[in-house]
């Protein structure tokens, strides 16, 4: 009997204690949640504000040229006629070439580093890739211009023109004088630039595949290729695609390196050997000396279109991933 009240008192003390703690913790939780929410919305807010301010800055160009701004291939600062087709086309094509090169190479690098390379080699090569990612793009541009362009002009492009240029269907893409600068060179330099980004993401996610899964597959008699293709890739697919997005985003927006080797000519050409232009390169080249309101507005409108292009490309990629996942029943 006498033990009961004290136990009851003990209970109430504990109760109050728990209550007090839970009030504080609820408040802390709420605060933390609000903080995280704010951090996430800040990204959306900045993105929205950047897009809106560019749309506002480019309103003069959009109002003046309307939809024609996107499909017109003329870019005449003297006659005040601006169309974004050439830069949009150049951005997409140079990024596509970059992806064609970067994705398989990055996949190979990541595969080698996680599955095949001896342990002592993994550290140094991995560190080298991360260092590559840190090289400023102007360095790639200067290397491209002073070393890679002469190499392309002297050895690669004459061969491409002679052999690939004669192939039916794709031939016209590879015909032209071996200037060295142009869409193909820009795409290759871009590809080299984004390889470190894609391959380091791929390597990191390949490492997360549980050893037991891989070992089971090996135990069933799979080759390394079968393990990678049927176990590692399906397990890491969304992260791998995320890494590719990262590289693609960088390729679409790359400015300096592209400016050096692309040729910066507002001319539409079906040949990849001919110079072209990209959205980011056009803005970087012409912003300082844009001497009329409509010119400046057209350049800012280009910036907005880069946003739109990037968004559409990434949305398509997401959609493809989603369809793929649904087909496999995930």
């Amino acid at each position: 009997m006498s033990a009961l009240p004290s136990a009851a008192i003990g209970l109430t003390i504990d109760d109050a204690h728990i209550k007090a703690r839970s009030v504080v913790e609820t408040r802390q939780d709420a605060f933390f949640r609000a903080l995280l929410f704010a951090a996430a919305t800040l990204v959306l807010l900045i993105l929205g504000a950047a897009a809106a301010s560019m749309l506002w800055g480019g309103r003069l160009a959009f109002e003046t040229f309307g939809w024609k701004f996107i499909v017109n291939d003329e870019w005449d600062a003297v006659g005040h006629q601006f169309g974004a087709f050439v830069p949009i086309y150049g951005t997409l094509v140079s990024s596509a070439i970059a992806m064609v090169i970067a994705i398989p190479v990055s996949f190979g690098i990541a595969l080698f580093l996680t599955e095949i390379a001896p342990t002592w080699l993994r550290g140094p090569v991995g560190a080298a890739i991360e260092l590559l990612a840190g090289i400023p793009s102007i360095i790639y541009g200067m290397w491209g211009l002073f070393s890679f362009v002469p190499f392309m002009a002297a050895y690669v492009l004459p061969w491409v023109d002679l052999h690939l240029g004669a192939v039916p269907w794709i031939g016209p893409l590879f015909r032209g004088p071996p200037l060295g600068i142009g869409m193909l060179t820009a795409g290759i330099v871009l590809g080299i630039m984004v390889i470190p980004f894609i391959s380091s993401v791929m390597r990191d996610v390949f490492r997360t595949v549980p050893a037991s899964l891989k070992e089971s597959a090996y135990a069933l008699g799979s080759t390394t290729w079968e393990v990678v293709w049927n176990v590692v890739l399906p397990y890491t697919r969304s992260a791998v695609v995320g890494g590719i997005f990262l590289g693609l985003g960088r390729a679409l927006g790359e400015t300096m390196a592209v400016t050096f080797v692309l040729g910066n000519a507002h001319q539409l050409s079906e040949s990849l050997l001919m110079p072209g232009n990209s959205i980011a390169a056009t803005i970087a080249n012409e912003f300082t000396e844009a001497d009329s309101d409509i010119y400046l507005s057209a350049l800012i409108a280009l910036g907005f279109l880069l946003f739109v292009v990037t968004f559409i490309v990434l949305a398509i990629a997401r959609l493809m991933l989603y369809n793929l996942a649904r087909k496999e029943g995930h």
């Binding site: 870019w75 211009l145 002009a153 004088p177 910066n264 001319q267 390169a281 012409e286 300082t288 001497d291």
Partner: protein, 344 residues
């Protein structure tokens, strides 16, 4: 972006003004002037600014943001002076209450990369250059080029045209010249700091054009004299208005500046390409300084004109070292009388 720079300039200005007024009390004036604009004149202005600081203790802070940017900054009154390669027309100057005068002369030089052609060997005239840049002459063995070069045998190489990809005063002076000598160019392309090039590839900056011309066989480009000399490229001769073939040099630039008819140009608004002198280089260019006619701050304005006077009188020798051309003496005189009559 512009606004951000603007406010920073304003802050700099006001703090410099504050320092100046504080120091004024002790009869020591050390002003920091700010200017912005032409990239063409930047190497010279930064050299001048360090010479001037050694001589007087006053600092000049020059931002080479491009002529278009310089004009925008001076119109917004965020800098003490703007510098531009393309003169503003008098009515635009009047509208914003601005005054304009040349500060130094330079020149644009065609350069080629043809096997066996030495610097100064190839002769061209304005019309031929215009037709090359219009894409009408596509081979180096074109009869028009052969007619200008009787002693020189050129093979059948397809011409690769190189131009600037960024907007620039160099381009402005080059295409201004082409427009003066070729009607076709005038109507089809026109003039501006960047134009719609009918053919060719674009290099970024003088370095970019020089690099492209060096790497592409049978190419032609245009750069400032400094780059043509420094990189040892094959510059061409050009036939001037008097009909003579001239080699690009400080002397032929000087001849062009001296023969240009400055007296008819209100506010010195004159592009001196295609100058009439017998030895004048046809693509000679001047850099202009733009200031306010009625300065808001007399102390800073006086400091600015002290600097310009120093630059015109003492700084021109330094200009020569950097392959710019000194203004001819009569022009310096008329600039100083322009200051006396136009600047309050």
């Amino acid at each position: 972006m512009k606004r951000l720079f603007g406010s920073r300039f304003r802050a700099l200005r006001s703090s410099a003004a504050l320092t100046a007024s504080l120091l004024l009390a002790q009869a020591v004036v050390a002003t920091e002037l700010t200017g912005a604009g032409s990239t063409f004149v930047y190497p010279l202005l930064s050299q001048w600014s360090s010479d001037y600081r050694d001589a007087t203790g006053n600092k000049i802070n020059y931002q080479s943001i491009g002529s278009g940017g310089g004009i925008a900054q001076i119109k917004a009154a965020t800098v003490d002076f703007g510098a531009t390669d393309k003169p503003l027309p008098p009515d635009e100057l009047a509208q914003f209450g601005l005054a304009q005068f040349p500060i130094v002369i330079g020149g644009v030089v065609p350069v080629v990369n043809i096997d066996g052609v030495a610097p100064g060997q190839l002769r061209l005239d304005g019309d031929t250059v215009a037709r090359i840049y219009l894409g009408q002459i596509t081979q180096w063995n074109d009869p028009a080029i052969a007619a200008l070069n009787p002693g020189l045998k050129l093979g059948a190489g397809a011409i690769s045209v190189v131009h600037r990809s960024d907007g620039s005063g160099t381009t402005f002076n080059f295409v201004n010249y082409l427009g003066k000598v070729s009607n076709d160019w005038h109507t089809k392309v026109g003039e501006g700091t960047s134009v719609q090039w009918p053919v060719g590839v674009g290099g970024k900056g003088n370095e970019g054009v020089a690099a492209y011309v060096k790497q592409i066989k049978n190419s032609i480009g245009y750069v400032e004299l400094e780059y043509a000399l420094k990189t040892g490229m094959s510059f061409t001769q050009l036939q001037n208005r008097a009909g003579n073939f001239v080699v690009p040099s400080l002397e032929s630039f000087e001849a062009a500046a001296a023969s240009a008819n400055w007296s008819v140009a209100k506010d010195f608004s004159l592009v001196i390409t295609d100058a009439p002198g017998a030895n004048a280089w046809p693509i000679t260019a001047s850099v202009f300084v733009i200031v306010y006619r009625q300065p808001k701050d007399p102390v800073r304005s006086k400091a600015a004109f002290d600097f310009f006077r120093w630059a015109l009188e003492k700084g021109q020798a330094r200009a020569k070292e950097l392959n710019y051309v000194a203004l001819p003496a009569p022009l310096v005189k008329s600039i100083e009388s322009y200051w006396a009559s136009e600047i309050k």
